[in-house]
């Protein structure tokens, strides 16, 4: 860490994008890196020739939820574990609630399942929209080479027009209001109980869900059209998406229904090989025989891999044991979508990108929008279902609590909660396999590959950071989740060192996308 005695030079993305080295010959010291706990951190080591030896993607924080939930009443887990992440609290809440069903050996009534799923669908629409418009989308809507100062939500607003921007903002607010109706509040809701939900679904709620769902389908279609216009009709973007720099051949994992179609709320977990063939399909209970976590000394996040294959290191291709989750992996792991409009998009997706499976990381952005459409359609289907209103929205558990696993597809991938209790329902042991953690090994590979492709002869071109960022931004990673740590969004630090560990350069990106570049 520098001593801060030299002047700090701050540059915007705009100037960072103009030239390879905007401050030739000047010494610029690092602004002492703020909020390091919240940063994703990339360390690049160069060999003597100035080529990348290896790039590390580090997650530098831990909170220890698995430990401090010990001794807590298990029914509190949906509320306690939602505090892992304030961005996707509903995902943790739901995985925990399903784990409670299993712990108490109770099957919720159909009405309860539908209430849970309609709230979950509203949440997925909201979260996927947030990613496209605020986080990942700006790279495409404005272009990876657009002036950095514009490559953010404000730039998107300008590009799509204020009326359309209002649609985005109002859709977010209305979806969050729906979650509030059922769950009390959108951040850290309270509706999940073993065997059902805490309160009845009313006619008034139903009419509000119906109105928003109808608009959500239109909103998703509008967003896909926008993606078509801006990205798919642009040869350069398409080449970027399908380029080798951003591709990895790994296994893919996702939850599917009985017909092997994508499902966020319930089903079995399916894993397909890098060639797209079914390798395993398993129930939540069996997760520990399929998934294992590897520990590296340089990150607080653990790295998931396929247990029967063993840990084979950060390697893709034929000899990999690494798998991927989240939108692209879910589409690869399934045979289709359960709603008609999303199914059409699903077919078009694979036709356009050369057939299944697709291994281009950046295709996650398109896959995410197809899921957005599915979630909106599913919400509309459920909102029309009169069973939501039936009075049997809970089954009181009668069995002695023991052990259970709950799984959902979180926006960022498969999310597994596993609890063991004593006979009084106090947690004795908890294990959490969290969405981003499933992707951690593949993200680490993507960052390494991007760095190797972009840094040569010791030179760090100014545009390198965004290109590396794009490698992991497509995953919509959440390091709060990955380490059960914090926070939800992800500022970034990139440092480049020579073989002796001496600092050559450092780039910092705040979560709004601004860069601070420092050259030692």
């Amino acid at each position: 860490m520098p001593d801060g005695t030299m002047p700090v030079q701050k540059i915007s993305r705009q100037s960072a994008g103009k030239a390879n080295d905007p401050y030739p010959g000047r010494r610029v010291t690092i602004d002492p890196v703020t909020r390091l706990e919240g940063h994703g951190k990339i360390e690049v080591f160069l060999d003597d020739a100035g080529e990348v030896d290896r790039a590390y993607f580090q997650v530098p924080e831990l909170r220890g939820f698995e430990k401090f939930v010990q001794g807590r009443p298990v029914e509190e887990m949906p509320q306690i574990t939602s505090r892992i992440c304030g961005v996707c609290p509903t995902a943790h809440h739901m995985a925990a609630t399903k784990a409670l069903d299993a712990v108490y050996h109770v099957t919720p009534p159909e009405t309860a399942k539908k209430i849970r799923e309609i709230v979950y669908s509203a949440f997925m629409v909201e979260d996927h929209s947030l990613h496209f418009y605020y986080l990942g989308g700006p790279d495409f809507v404005l272009g990876p080479d657009a002036p950095a100062a514009q490559r953010n939500i404000l730039g998107v607003i300008e590009a799509v027009g204020i009326e359309n921007a209002k649609k985005v903002i109002s859709m977010r607010r209305r979806l969050r209001n729906l979650i509030t109706l059922v769950g009390g509040k959108p951040v850290h809701p309270v509706f999940g109980l073993p065997g059902g939900v805490a309160k009845r679904f009313t006619v008034e709620m139903q009419s509000q869900f119906q109105a928003v769902a109808e608009d959500a389908v239109a909103f998703a279609t509008f967003t896909l059209d926008l993606f078509d216009d801006i990205v798919l009709n642009n040869r350069a973007y398409l080449d970027l998406i399908t380029g080798d720099d951003y591709s990895h051949r790994t296994f893919c994992m996702g939850m599917v229904d009985d017909a092997n179609r994508v499902n966020f709320y319930d089903g079995q977990i399916r894993v397909v090989t890098p060639e797209g063939k079914e390798w395993k399909k398993f129930k939540a209970n069996d997760y520990a025989s399929v998934i294992a976590e590897h520990v590296e000394p340089w990150s607080y996040a653990k790295f998931c891999y396929l247990k029967p294959l063993g840990w084979k290191g950060f390697t893709d291709g034929d000899d990999t044991s690494i798998y991927s989750v989240a939108p692209l992996a879910r589409l690869n792991a399934a045979d289709g979508m359960a709603t008609p409009l999303a199914q059409k998009e699903y077919e078009r997706f694979f036709a356009k990108l050369g057939g299944k499976p697709v291994h281009h990381t950046l295709a996650n952005h398109w896959a995410r929008l197809i899921e957005l459409l599915y979630a909106a359609e599913r919400m509309r289907e459920l909102a029309a279902d009169s069973q939501l209103l039936e009075p049997e929205y809970r089954t009181l558990p009668t069995a002695t609590p023991t052990e259970g696993v709950g799984v959902v597809e979180a926006p960022r991938g498969t999310l597994i909660h596993h609890y063991q209790t004593d006979e009084h329902g106090l947690v004795q042991r908890a294990n959490l396999i969290v969405a981003t953690q499933n992707n951690a090994a593949r993200i680490a590979m993507s960052v390494d590959k991007a760095a190797k492709g972009l840094i040569h002869r010791g030179e760090v071109p100014a545009g390198v950071l965004n290109k590396i960022e794009m490698a992991f931004r497509a995953y919509d990673p959440c390091n709060a989740c990955a380490t059960h740590a914090l926070p939800g969004s992800m500022p970034l630090v990139l440092t480049v060192r020579n073989r002796q560990g001496q600092l050559l350069a450092s780039l910092t990106r705040n979560s709004d996308g601004h860069i601070l570049k420092c050259i030692q």
Binding site: S12, L36, L62, R63, R83, C85, G184
Partner: protein, 323 residues
């Protein structure tokens, strides 16, 4: 004549991101306020760095809203810096105010947490017993991780705090009111919690159903009963912490038909929320017989984790233990 706009800042330490969402949720409502103030530091949204803050004159920020608990030395330094630069330092949200749910980690030692996560987790395969965060001795020895410290602290255990905005996360009305209050002419008394100084029961939509005297032979867990959607939850035997919790959220969890878990902390006259909650709950026990009282208390499965759900780091019992 133009008057210089007041400066405000937002910062986060050990938090989940929910407080940032809470700020965004009220953004539309407080646009006018934001137009009347300059946001000079907000790492989640704006490109101002620590060095920018360091260069500001001491006391030049009117109010800094800091969320998240304190677990690392870096967070402590930032708290100190923002304290110096701000006229008002505001602890925003339960973690900053009281330690919050991650503060439950203070029931356990640092070592036992690391052991659980990296050695004992059922899916973790760690034959070489690799522990993240230890210095690396290979050629990549510069690769380090921040130290995972021994305990979680609330903001006022690290620096002086002027005001508190309670809640997990703070509800929109509380946030709007707090910002307006601090930008207004008459700042409240130092040390105030910027929410109504009364128990949640006073604004609970079910307050009319609360009996004058509640007498319980057993406490109930939410999975044990069909929860009536109109009746006082305490009267149904649920551990609702409304009587020991500050008002202001408009009983959001009760609106969800679940008991209050105490995220807004205690009303002002109460020093120790957990003790107050315990005594409020104990006063409902319908028995004079000691062994029967013990039996009834035994129906509360996790008293410490329930009554101190959000306030363990800030509590007296915790600090007395010196953990």
């Amino acid at each position: 004549m133009t008057r210089e706009k007041p400066k405000i800042a937002f910062y986060w330490c050990a938090s989940c991101g929910g407080c940032e969402e809470a700020v965004v949720d009220v953004a539309e409502q407080i646009l006018d306020v934001v137009a009347a103030a300059d946001i000079v530091f907000w790492p989640v949204a704006l490109d101002f760095k620590r060095s920018d803050v360091e260069q500001m004159p001491d006391g030049s920020i009117l109010a800094t809203f800091l969320n998240g608990a304190i677990r690392t030395s870096e967070q402590e330094e930032m708290a100190g810096l923002l304290r110096r630069k701000s006229k008002y330092l505001v602890a925003f949200g339960s973690c900053s105010h009281l330690g919050g749910i991650p503060g439950l980690a203070n029931f356990f030692t640092r070592e036992s947490i690391l052991q659980a996560v990296y050695f004992d987790a059922p899916t973790t395969e760690n034959p070489d017993r690799v522990m993240p965060g230890l210095p690396l001795n290979d050629r990549h020895g510069e690769l380090t991780l921040p130290y995972f410290s021994d305990r979680v602290r609330s903001l006022d255990q690290v620096v002086e705090v002027d005001y508190y905005v309670p809640g997990c996360p703070p509800q929109p009305k509380i946030v709007t009111r707090a910002v307006l209050t601090l930008l207004g002419e008459h700042p409240p008394t130092k040390g105030s919690v910027l929410a109504p100084d009364e128990a949640l029961c006073t604004e609970c939509p079910r307050k009319d159903s609360k009996p004058d005297k509640i007498a319980l032979k057993a406490f109930r867990r939410p999975q044990e009963i069909q929860i009536d959607e109109t009746q006082c939850l305490l009267a149904q035997g649920l551990l609702c912490l409304g009587p020991a919790t500050r008002a202001g959220c408009e009983a959001r969890c009760v609106e969800g038909n679940m008991p209050c878990t105490g995220c807004c902390g205690a009303p002002g006259r109460v020093r120790e929320q957990g003790a107050k909650a315990l005594s409020a709950i104990a006063s409902l026990i319908d028995s004079q017989d000691e062994s029967e009282i013990d039996q009834i208390l035994a129906t509360i499965p996790d008293p410490a984790g329930t009554f101190y759900r959000y306030s363990l780091p800030a509590s007296l019992i915790h600090n007395k233990r010196g953990v």
